[in-house]
Symmetry: C2
Subunit: 189 residues, 2 copies
DNA sequence: GGGCAACGAGAACGATCGTTCTCTACGGTA
DNA sequence: TACCGTAGAGAACGATCGTTCTCGTTGCCC
């Protein structure tokens, strides 16, 4: 087992444990036990728990956005692509072990300012820019992207805290209505 | 200083510290120091930290919903009352020390199932029922209350994590558009 | 005024945290 | 085969946590 594989095993173990139980509730010893990587090696891969937490969040960000984008890319119609975001959320919410947004959850654990708060913000900014791109393909008001972001984050909160599996459907219906409301009616005088 | 006043001082200190820094990051000694109530008395008021955390959240729930309702009650027009929710959010976001939803933040710190998760859920359920009441005064589709809830939680997340002070305005605009979209048009044939 | 119950201040306790150190075993090279 | 740098396993360390205990003092009732 070389350095990279050890680092990957540690990150996989940390990812599962941090997401399931929260960052502060998981000790480094639990990560060592789950990964099978001894302390000495573990600390050579990640010099501190804070480094590991940062990598955990950054990888979650990349993976989460890639999975969403891959799902959306199965559509070509611009309006369908926007609504596909919410279809994907519905699938995500239904996954076993779903426990909300890792970034929102971690943000709650650490005061601001903190590196965790910065990464959470970067994640939401990246999502916002992705939505900008989706919306730019439509003849709609620029406000729509921001409103979609609100619906997404609201749905994640509802699905995790209220355990409401229909949150994605509700958000999708609202997004659909807003899509119509924000569309410039070219038939207007 | 009698029992009730000591309990109140402890709860006030815990409220400020828990909200600002997160629950797990605040030790009981910090609460003792900030409240001026010695350990022996503190533990007679709240038998454990978990009890104190539960009281902190339950009081936050009551106070938050009362403040919102008081603001809304300054209006009489049903539609204005719905939109006033978002005006109040805007004021809340602008308060110094605003750091998001205490229930969402605490939910992230503790795994589910937990008493904290239960209280967070109760809080969101209560908000949902309040919105049901506001919407019931309007000739609108029943879906609107759920969609308003998504916008509210989304706005809180945006305002706290992205530090977006306009989140309340965006949510209000979206709510206004949805209000129109969900209104049964009595003039239709 | 004397005895007693309750109090405040803070030390103490056991547990657990993140991190480092020790010690033993081993593998490659002359 | 003798040597040496590195690895793994886990004890150890200092800090901090939630909680309890000690102890000197105070105030109240008879």
């Amino acid at each position: 087992m070389d350095h990279d594989e050890a680092a990957l095993r540690v990150l996989d173990a940390a990812d599962a444990l941090f997401y399931e139980r929260g960052v502060q509730a998981v000790g480094m010893d639990a990560i060592r036990a789950a990964s099978g990587v001894p302390f000495k090696r573990l600390y050579r891969c990640y010099p501190s728990k804070e480094h590991l937490v940062a990598e955990y969040l950054r990888r979650r960000d990349r993976r989460w956005r890639r999975r969403m984008a891959d799902f959306v890319d199965e559509r070509t119609d611009p309006a369908e692509r926007v609504l596909a975001v919410f279809d994907w959320l519905g699938r995500w919410f239904a996954e076993p072990g779903f426990r909300g947004c890792a970034f929102v959850n971690s943000f709650g654990e650490f005061g601001t300012p903190s590196v965790v708060a910065d990464i959470a913000r970067e994640h939401k900014d990246a999502l916002r820019h992705y939505l900008d791109g989706l919306v730019a393909c439509l003849p709609v008001d620029a406000r729509l992207a921001e409103e979609l972001l609100l619906l997404i984050d609201g749905a994640i909160v509802s699905a995790s805290i209220m355990r409401n599996p229909n949150a994605a459907d509700s958000a999708r219906a609202a997004a659909s209505a807003l899509l119509v409301a924000r569309t410039a009616r070219s038939t207007a005088p």
